[in-house]
């Protein structure tokens, strides 16, 4: 049969949206992230049939229902493990893991550690709203000390974990950050994540209007954004501020970064650190910056590719290996056998 295949139409964002009604609270940052992901998929023209979204449980983890690719809404915290199995069964599939600060860093911390360490080739988007949205607002491992929530009426006392620092410690080889409302930036970060071979980890600051509204306002509000955000680009100086005159310099004595102003106190652009996304030390320093003293570092903070887990797994598999065509005869007869005559 040689039926002509229909002319290929480029797919648009809307073609990647499923027919299911989106059920987040009005105003939730998740809508914006969904929009950015759909745009990313469309811009990259990914084949829907080879794309799988895998999530755990949480408001954020409802995500797969809204994308017209394959989707698996699994159980709380376990998406990385399930995604690893999917990749082992079929490394050709393009897998996105959607998780939250609770799903990925509370119950799912161990799987996140190991999927990053193993460097399974997939994209992980962690929606960080510093709260448990779905279960109605308890504090999460990323909540700041003193967070009042139903489970911490007098304020939380735990030190929060930094998703980026955790990922770095886990051995992640791609760490990026963006903000729900920063559409263009988010799309570009997601494209980089998709392009990266191996596990790419993207933390998105996501506003939960209901239980943790404006918790990131300090650096996401339009008015303060230029001064409070540092959008890093590989090979470019670490400059920020409205006129890009502020920059980061290394203090070699303290091994810390400091904010300086180009043109002041003898500082020139040559004093400003150049972003090197392969530098792990720089990544640690950038990930540790906290407003208001420092800008929040956004963009691809660390990217240092290495062979992926499933590549290495399949490199050990002899070509043509197949269970369906397994030579059982050979297997069952290997070693010592004996024959009893009839």
């Amino acid at each position: 049969m040689t039926a002509a295949s229909p002319p290929v139409q480029p797919l648009a964002s809307k073609d990647y949206a499923s027919d299911q009604e989106v059920r987040w609270c009005p105003g939730c940052g998740d809508y914006a992230i969904l929009k950015a992901v759909l745009k990313t998929l469309a811009d990259l023209s990914v084949p829907r049939e080879r794309t799988v979204f895998v999530s755990g449980i949480g408001c954020s983890s409802r995500f797969p229902y809204y994308v017209s690719t394959y989707g698996f809404h699994t159980i709380h915290g376990r998406a990385p493990a399930i995604a690893t199995g999917i990749k082992l069964a079929n490394p050709e599939l393009d897998v996105w893991v959607i998780t939250g600060d609770g799903d990925g860093l509370s119950i799912g911390g161990n799987h996140l550690l190991h999927v990053l360490r193993r460097n399974v080739n997939l994209q992980i988007i962690l929606f960080n709203n510093e709260i448990y949205g779905l279960t109605k607002g308890q504090y999460s491992p990323t909540s700041r000390q003193g967070t009042r929530s139903p489970s911490t009426p007098t304020g939380s006392v735990d030190y929060p974990v930094s998703p980026g620092a955790f990922a770095l410690g886990a051995g992640a080889r791609f760490i990026a950050r963006s903000i729900d409302t920063l559409q263009a930036h988010l799309v570009s970060v997601l494209k980089r994540a998709h392009q990266h071979r191996g596990a790419s980890f993207v933390e998105v600051f996501q506003n939960c209007v209901v239980f943790n509204d404006a918790v990131f306002a300090e650096f996401t509000e339009k008015a303060v954004a230029p001064e409070a955000q540092l959008q890093v680009e590989h090979g470019e100086p670490l400059l920020f501020g409205k006129d890009k005159t502020k920059g980061l310099r290394l203090n070699p004595a303290t091994l810390q970064l400091e904010v300086v102003t180009v043109g002041q106190a003898g500082v020139t652009e040559r004093d400003i650190l150049i972003h090197d996304e392969r530098n792990r030390t720089l990544a640690l320093l950038l990930l540790g910056l906290k407003p208001p003293a420092f800008p929040m570092a956004l963009g691809v903070i660390y990217c240092d590719p290495a062979p992926s887990y499933e590549e290495a797994v399949y490199a050990q598999v002899p070509p043509g290996a197949s269970a369906a065509r397994a030579d059982l005869e050979k297997l069952l007869h290997q070693g010592q056998t004996w024959t009893v005559a009839g």
Partner: protein, 619 residues
Amino acid sequence: MTTSALGAQREVRDHVVIRFAGDSGDGMQLTGSQFTLETALAGNDLATFPDYPAEIRAPAGTTFGVSAFQIHFGSADIQTAGDEVDVLVAMNPAALRVNLRDLRVGGTVVVDTGSFTERNLAKAGYPSNPLEDGSLVPYQLIKLDISKLTLDAVEPFGLSQKEALRCRNMWALGLMLWMYDRDRQATVDWLNRKFAKRPELAQANIAALNAGHAFGETAEMSPIAAYQVRPARVEPGEYRTVTGTEALAWGLLAGARAAGLEKLVFGSYPITPASPLLHTLAGLKAYGVVTFQAEDEIAAIGAALGASYAGALGVTSSSGPGIALKTEALGLAVATELPLVVVNSQRAGPSTGMPTKTEQSDLYQALFGRNADSPLVVLAAATPGDCFEVAMEAVRLATKYMTPVILLTDGYLANAAEPWRIPELASLPSFPVRFRTDPSGFHPFVRDPKTLARPWAVPGTPGLEHRIGGIERDYQTGHISYDPDNHQRMTEVRAAKIAGIAQDIPLQDLALGAPGGKLVVVGWGSTYGPIVQAVRQAREEGLDVSHIHLRYLSPLPRNLGALLRSFERVLVPEMNYGQLVTVLRAAYLVPAQKLSKVQGQPFKVREVLEGIRAALAES
């Protein structure tokens, strides 16, 4: 009486139980395995029972460092590793101390006198030397300085004293092979392979083996009795020995093959006694098997489930405590109706319990150990060889009905070996899976009207893009649904799908006996051997007793109720505190009674037999 090659007189025995016992470092498991191989090659039926210490390598010479390997072989059907030991080979005082209690009165004990030093006697906790204080009078004691005899035999090869003494086990093996008129060639071949890189070690070990053999042949001063055990009459065909683990691994692969699946993805986290399955499957990469040592049991089942979702055969395996951790994800497999095989090599509990000891106390967990109504299939293997068939059946049911299947084995089955007739490939079942490919009318939860299975729609298939998850799904569309009636309907259909499998499995047969009568003994899993032997003996004694052995625990065979009701009494021996017995009572309202052994060890035939007699006496 027959005569051996050299003319010595050999007594004929129907069956014999030998136990090799020594320090963990003495190589008793290898010795036992080689004796097993030679015995299998000699055409006997056999069953083995390796008994490892809990410690990896406890201090030498201590009682808790003793490792033993028992083999029961004979010219008739052998079903257990034997209640009592006929011949005990004890390589040191601790081995004698720990194992003597199982030697039958009048049995033979072979000891290496060279190891009965004061230090070793003290370590074993002997106040006086049992070789001299008369405590071994009830037994036939064969005292040999195996240490010295070995050192002499390997002298030419220039080994260190330590290395030379490591050959003691081969000397002992040689002697036992002579005693039971077994060949040595397979062992010689194995030694040459094993020490291919150090030929002097191969030669020394072979020399020790031959020396032990020659010693028997020539010990004219105090002749050692020689025996003959004639080959068993078994079905013709090609045979090999298998452990339960090997049979299971191969059965899973054969299942994937029969289903026509490209890949078997095995996710597991090491745990005693389940790890050997991981090790065995890790060696089968060339056969389309991908193994994944996960960070924990949850990730292991997660990866297996992900693999099934993506169109491979997902399999996971663990033992009780690890299975406990998998139960949440197992619920997801039930809810999303994906095929999955979960192997539980049961061990003694609760909690960590006695990890190296066998038990079958996770039946409750398999049947009931999940949140909510979450029915699935539960199967159990009866013998090492049976693991092959049961594994294939697990794959068949998992893929045909889109359901998780729990396959129960235990520590005994995992490690025990028996001769196994290699099946003809053509005789194996075939049950090819048909992935859904047609987008027209596709909904992920629309069921096959006969099997009630949903379609297996694998990512990568154009036009079938869909979303599934653990939230309740609409009966028709598969979308999320909180509708009350839909939940009732889905609960019912999930139950009906599993219950319906009863139509697709064989009617329950009797292992021994016929329907009707005074007593039926109902077993499941690895108690098959002792039960069948006990019931056979009881029947030979003229007692009215039959034996039913269950492979299918969920759903139960559809004729089981009628079968059980045809007997006056039902006795259920289990290596737990009474679990199947609860299930049978609830399902059929028959007054089944338990016979419970919770000692980390298989039933002895005698124990089941006593249970039978007691049950019949009551009636």
